[in-house]
Structures are given as C-alpha cells and as structure tokens.
Amino acid sequence: MNESASRIGAVVRKELTEFRRNRFIIVTTAIVPLVFLISPTASILAIKATASSAVLTRRVDTSLFFPLLIPVVVPTILSAFSVIGEREQGTLEPVLTTPVSTVELLAGKAAAIFLPAVSVAYLIFGIFVAIVRFGATAAVGTAAWNAPQLPAEVIFIPLLAGWSIWVGLAISARASDTRVAQQLSLLGSLPPLALIALLSFNVITPSLGLAAVFAAVLLVIDCAACFVVAQLFNGERLITGHKATGLAR
C-alpha cells in the first residue's frame, strides 16, 4: 500500500471509530433511515387489492422515492460536521501539521461517510423491497417489483450519496458554524434529488437514456469533486479566520 493510500486509510479508520462512539451520529443515522422505511412501507401495504391501476402506480412511485432520501440526508449530517467539527474541537491544526495532503484528508473523510451511508441506504432499500415483495398484495408486489425505479435506485443510491458528501464537505470547509453547515448542506443536496423526483413522478418523462446521462453526470461530478472541494479547502482561513495568501493549503 503506498503512503497516500495509507494516509487515506488512517483517516477512514479514525472517522469510523469516531462515528461509532458518537451517540448523536449513531441515533441520527438509525432514526432517519427508519423513518424513510416505515412511512413508504406503511403506505404501500395499505394499498388495497382493488385499487385502480392509476392509484397503484402513483403510490408505488411515491413509496419508491423515499429510500432515495436516505443517501441524501444521512451523508449530509455526517459531512457537514466533518471539517467544521475538527476546527471546533481544535484537532484540525495538528492534522494539518502532518504530511497528509488536503486531497487525502478529504478523500478519507468522504470514504468514511460513504461506507456507512450507502450501506444503510442499501439495507433499508433491501428491507423495503422484501416487505413489498412478500408482504403486500400480489398486484402491489408485482407493480413494485417491475417498476423501473427499482434498478435505477440501486445505481442512484451511491451517486446521490457521493453528491451529498461532497456538497457537505465543501460547505463544511467554508462555513463558520456546524448548524449552518448542516442546513446549507441539506439545501445543497436537493438539486439532484429534485430532478429524480421529477423523473419518478413523471413530471419529466423518464427514459433509460435520460437516466443513464444523469447517472453519468453524477458519476463524473462525484469523481472530480474531491479536487474541486480541495480547492475550496483553505487551511489558513480555517485556522486563522483570514484568507490564505499563498503557501498554505
């Protein structure tokens, strides 16, 4: 393993250990997904077998949209705290005195958020699909199982998580307060979700091509974002409150 990967791994390991021991993060990352599981599950199980095709489609579309909120909301909570939190507890300065580069630091932080956020999102999505498949009426189960959103969600969960993480990290690197960072991050995470909502609810006519283009754009943004956010990360400003003039990260 080269030095860079080793440093990224060190950041990931440290972040995951901190998450595990932070009750606020544990509770938040547990409750938010449960809410997004219970609500659509209850809605879809309540559909009667006699429901019309239009009602069935609308409620299945709505229910399948909820699991996509998990990879948006959970990373937002974690990433918004990520940089500003270090600054507030005074740990950023010692870290920046080590040879770790800004890209390594941010990549480690992003990976540490991505892993639990996407795991939880897939887990909740899997539970939801299993309940619908085996717990709902046959018509509802079939409609949900055959919905085009199902494979799309498998692809969009990590892509949306990536977007939310990088938006959160960018805002966290620029904000002066954790709460402000979380609120702004949530707002910043909404644009791709809004587009998916428009597709899910047929406001924009969905097609395989459109979804593929959208997914590709998100993938490119997620991959390039590390370097963009690294440019926004101004160590001198984070430490002193004043903008850097040259040497510092």
């Binding site: 507890q89 740990t91 080590t98 001198e236």
Partner: protein
C-alpha cells in the same frame, strides 16, 4: 553548530493588520529557543508560518535545512512537529488511538514501538487505553507532547505548552521539555511565562509584532541594565558622597530609601551604586565603608530578572522606542 531555523525578514499581514513585521533570527540545532511576547505579539502566527500552516506575506525561512515554500511544505512537515496551544486530541479516541492515527499520517514504520516510546517518554504508558476526553488538562498536554515526539522531529514547535495548567502540571510539562534538550531536539518554545523561559531556554527572542531583542537571558540583562551594587547600612551615612564619590570603579550612586536620604533618620539605609565590575568594586566599597565606621549589613550585586528585561523592552516598544 548548523542552523535548524533561519528566518529572514518574515512579515505577515491579515486584512491590512500586521501580525508579524520584518522578523529575522536563527536557531541552532539542538537549541531550546524561547519566543516571548505579550498576547497578540505574533508568536503563534510565527509558529504557524514556520510550521507551514499559513503563508508569510513577505520574507523567507529555512526549516531543518529546507526552504519554506508551497512545494516543500510536505517535506518540512515530515521533519517537524507542532504542539498548538490547545492539545487538539480526539476526545472519543483513546490516547493510543490518537497517536496511532498520527503515526499513520506520518507513515511511520514500527508504529506500535514508536507509540510505546512516545508514551513512555511522557509517562503516559499506563493511560494508553483511556479516552482522551477523560484525561485531566495536564495529561492531555502530555498526550499532545507524546504526539509531537512520534515522528522523531528535527525541530519541535511548542506553542504555550503550559498555558492553563496548574503549577504542578506545568512543572511536569517543563520537565519533559527539558528532557527534549537532552535528546538533541531543537525546540522552539513560545511562551509569556518568563520563569519557564529563563529556566529552559538557551536563548530568547522578545517580540511584539517586530523583534525587540534576541540573545541569552544574561546577555539581555547586561545589555539592558547597567550593573550595580546594592548596599545596605545599619544606619544612614552622614556624608555618603564623601565615601562613594571618587571610589575606583563607582560610576554613580543614589540613595534608595528615605532613610538613606536623611542623615538623621533611623533604620537601615539602602544605596545603589552603578559600577563597571561588581566583583572587583565590592571589596573596594566594603573597605571604604568599614574605614568610615559604617555598619555594613550587606553588599550584593543587584540582579535583574528576565522579567525586568521583558517589561523594559515592551515598555520601550509601547513608548515608540527602537528595538535593542
């Protein structure tokens, strides 16, 4: 001895406010160098610049032989360590986990052995498994000091390491810094506690935005204050001028307390004699006083502390005087 730090005309401005102005100095390898100044004097800013955390507005520096540039910042970070004023430990991680994280960031081989050595050096080996959040402030400072030892740095920057500590904890931390000198580490110590600077530092620089003076503590004292003898007599001298004026080596004299100014007064009288060489002049003064039938209580060289030097320099600066 080669220089571990060379600073030339370093200046830092924040939004039009000058925090550090045209500062130049050098620190030899293995030296414990004290950087003194009041709050807001630019001490921490200087440490942050030399530690590659912030960029200078002007000037240049060599750290551990490496020029301070954006391109070499990573190299410099491998060779130095910084202990900021706040320990900056992850409260939810144990002491050992904190050190392990930093050891990985430095890419150190044989991490566990290095961590064990660092903890042993600061006497924290038995607290390795304790969460940092559960440690007292003094123990956190020690853990932070252990972190700075991990990469075996050529230059160590310690920014107010005893700030906020009680006297016992501060004493312990100072003892650890003293041990660093024995290991040959170059220590750049910022502080406004003059007693610890006097005790630990080979040389000190006193600054207040710009550099006011630099040298060994005794050199600064001699440069700033004329040498003098403090003379105490059991009763005031009737004609002190007849005794002190014209004595070889005595440049001037003054009565210090009211009793000394009044020949008819009662109680011990104190006189201060400005002299060229206290060791040579003291016997001359003693003989003259004995010859005049004076009851000599004491004759001692008047000592100035580093605190006197510091206060004098800061006072000069505040009055708009030139650096010495």
């Amino acid at each position: 001895m080669s220089a571990a730090i060379e600073v030339s005309h370093l200046t830092k401005q924040f939004a039009g406010r000058t925090a550090v102005s045209d500062v130049s100095f050098s620190v030899a390898s293995g030296e414990v160098f004290g950087f003194l100044g009041p709050n807001g004097a630019g001490k921490t800013t200087t440490v942050r610049i030399l530690g590659t955390l912030i960029a200078p507005t002007a000037g240049s520096a060599l750290i551990a032989g490496i020029p301070l540039t954006r391109a070499t910042a990573g190299q410099i970070r491998q060779r130095i360590s910084i202990m900021p004023e706040a320990p900056g430990l992850y409260q939810r991680l144990t002491v050992a986990e904190n050190l392990e994280f930093f050891a990985r960031l430095y890419g150190l081989p044989q991490r566990q052995a290095r961590i064990g050595e660092a903890l042993a050096a600061v006497g924290l080996a038995d607290r390795a498994s304790d969460p940092c959040g559960s440690l007292s402030k003094g123990l956190r400072q020690r853990a932070a000091l252990a972190r700075t030892l991990l990469n075996d740095p050529a230059v160590m920057f310690l920014d107010e390491p005893t700030s906020g500590l009680d006297p016992a904890a501060a004493h312990e931390v100072l003892g650890l810094i003293g041990a660093l000198r024995d290991r040959g580490v170059t220590v750049f110590l910022t502080t406004h506690r003059l007693d610890e600077a006097q005790r630990l530092c080979d040389r000190v620089a006193i600054m207040n935005t710009s550099l006011l003076s630099i040298g060994r503590p005794d050199e600064l004292r001699h440069a700033l204050f004329s040498r003098s003898l403090a003379v105490t007599i059991a009763a005031p001298l009737a004609k002190p001028g007849e005794i002190f004026d014209g004595l070889p080596g005595v440049e001037s004299w003054q009565a210090v307390n009211p009793a000394a100014s009044d020949p008819a007064g009662a109680g011990p009288a104190d006189y201060l004699l400005t002299v060229a060489d206290p060791a040579r002049v003291a016997p001359v003064v003693t003989r003259a006083l004995v010859h005049a039938d004076a009851d000599v209580v004491s004759i001692t060289e008047s000592r100035h502390t580093l605190e006197d030097v510091y206060l004098q320099l800061i006072d000069d600066k505040n009055k708009g005087g030139q650096p010495r």
